[in-house]
Symmetry: C2
Subunit: 322 residues, 2 copies
């Protein structure tokens, strides 16, 4: 009898390096892949290349009992592409390096590739290269390349100036709430909270908002990866400004409030310190770009850092990698 389903007993070691690479490129292919290195042709003349890299370690950044391999693939694309978008650039390509135990099912890698392909298709980006090797724990490194066309400067951490509007694109606090729910309930999170779990396992920002923000005159930008206050403090410090956030613009929505009630938690902790939403957060001296909302103002009070309604925020800790 021949099974038509995936051969679930195939492992990385049983099929070997070349077959693992074939499995990935069959799902996330590119004509640029398959040589010692990939050669990227510019989408526009004289654009600049933007590049970022980011690791996800099993048990640290994801757990297979909480996330599907597809979600891990989606998340590692978003984590990196948000960094590229934070410069105002358009993501165009990625490289995937995987270290995994030899008994890892090939289906895990296929799922990862499906998530990567699904998410980067939204950007018309391609997986152009990578590496596969063995280790005791799954470690995935994704490198993202982007294109920065035109004459406007890149959006940087140091480009905020007093008197600008602080802007945000994407949910704030959902990924933190999702993590808290998973920690409490495991896979049995009540279905009403599924969107929060999804925001943790496969966060979403609309493709292209960084490019739009740059075109619309934004100056500083980063993404909310470590926590809103922590990431904006980096902008404030590097730019030499203060930031005063407007609590009314950050007010936890009904879903966050309900989750907080279920967990006996304070939803403001997720909003101010949760991180992992990869919300694009920045500043602009002009109109708020399409897709963004205003969440505060930059000030000349550089010594006070980031405040909320003029006061020290209730929560300010954030994620640390070590």
């Amino acid at each position: 009898m021949v099974s038509k389903g995936p051969r679930v007993h195939e492992t990385l070691a049983s099929v070997g390096e070349q077959e693992v690479i074939r499995a990935i490129t069959a799902i996330a292919g590119s004509s640029l892949n398959g040589d010692d290195a990939a050669v990227l042709h510019p989408g526009a003349p004289n654009h600049l290349t933007v590049v970022a890299t980011d690791m996800m370690v099993e048990g640290n950044h994801f757990r297979q009992e909480w996330s599907t391999p597809e979600e891990v693939g989606e998340k590692i694309i978003l984590r990196n592409f948000a960094d590229v978008e934070s410069m105002g650039a358009r993501p165009v390509a990625s490289l995937l390096a995987i270290a995994a135990p030899p008994d890892t099912p090939l289906e895990f890698v296929r799922g990862l590739a499906r998530g990567i392909a699904k998410r980067q298709d939204k950007y018309n980006a391609e997986l152009v290269g990578g590496d596969v090797t063995h280790s005791s724990q799954i470690v995935i490194t994704l490198t993202a390349l982007g294109a920065l066309g035109g004459d406007l400067p890149a959006l940087t951490l140091s480009a905020a100036r007093p008197g600008q509007t602080v802007i945000a694109h994407g949910r704030i606090g959902w990924a933190g709430a999702g993590l808290a729910l998973l920690q409490r309930y495991g896979r049995a999170v009540p279905s009403e909270f599924a969107p929060l779990v999804k925001a943790q396992c496969a966060p979403w920002i609309d493709p292209g908002r960084g490019v739009v923000a740059r075109a619309a005159g934004a100056k500083a930008m980063t993404d909310n990866s470590d926590g809103l206050i922590q990431d904006l403090t980096t902008v404030a410090t590097k730019s030499g400004v203060g930031i005063d956030l407007d609590s009314a613009a950050l007010e936890p929505d009904d879903l966050l409030v309900a989750a907080a009630r279920a967990l006996d938690a304070d939803p403001w902790e997720w909003v101010l310190a949760g991180g992992e939403d990869h919300t694009l957060i920045g500043t602009t001296p002009g109109d708020v770009p399409t897709g963004f909302v205003p969440i505060g103002r930059t000030t000349a009070a550089r010594d006070t850092g980031v405040v909320v309604d003029g006061r020290k925020p209730q929560f300010s800790a954030g994620w640390s990698a070590l």
Copy 2:
């Protein structure tokens, strides 16, 4: 009493993420680093960007009892830069992602950064970004970016044609001999064999030979990472040619012969199947480029793969990552 030496008790966890990043950038710095992503300005108008990524896992690709952290840094640069050079491109930048146990000494990371800086300085390349996180085992991912200027095509695995000269730049077999010596003697390898151990722990090729080969009319190129026969078989298969190597050009040198005698081994195994030398190997229809030597010819005998003096090679297995 204040110690002036390195504070050897500092670990990644004790100093924290920001201090680890500062330690790296203090040694391998770039004005392009320090934002969400790095923005690379072209060294020449309308060049193409070449990119490759490669992982090194402790216990698999290196052992701290055999290699210093500096050597690990040198090797991961060479592994990636050889891939970029194999396209005929000039390495210009790197990104470093490190996952390591929290109790890893900060001095390990400093050493790694010193090796990276030392080696990429030879190329005028810079470390422009990275990531640091924790894991149970040290996993290092380096991504290399290169610039491919001018109108000549990149050097590819599929560009060999019958009747070309097979060329090589760099030692062949030394890294394999070094590994065998370390496996036998550990740190107590007889000093006469030190160059072979160095070739394993911090292999060397002269910077810029890939660029020279492309300018001189070479067509196909790769680097000897998995084994000479295995890597040339990839070129032969992708190009649809046969390759006939000249044993006289590959003859093990006196040091390899002496090491083989000490280990009761056959030096031809290191030459033909050792890999990890990262020797640039390729083909050209014209003159042998400066720095390269001829080691054989391409033929129309595509079904016979890679032969030595017209016969099936004595050793052909190679390194597999899984």
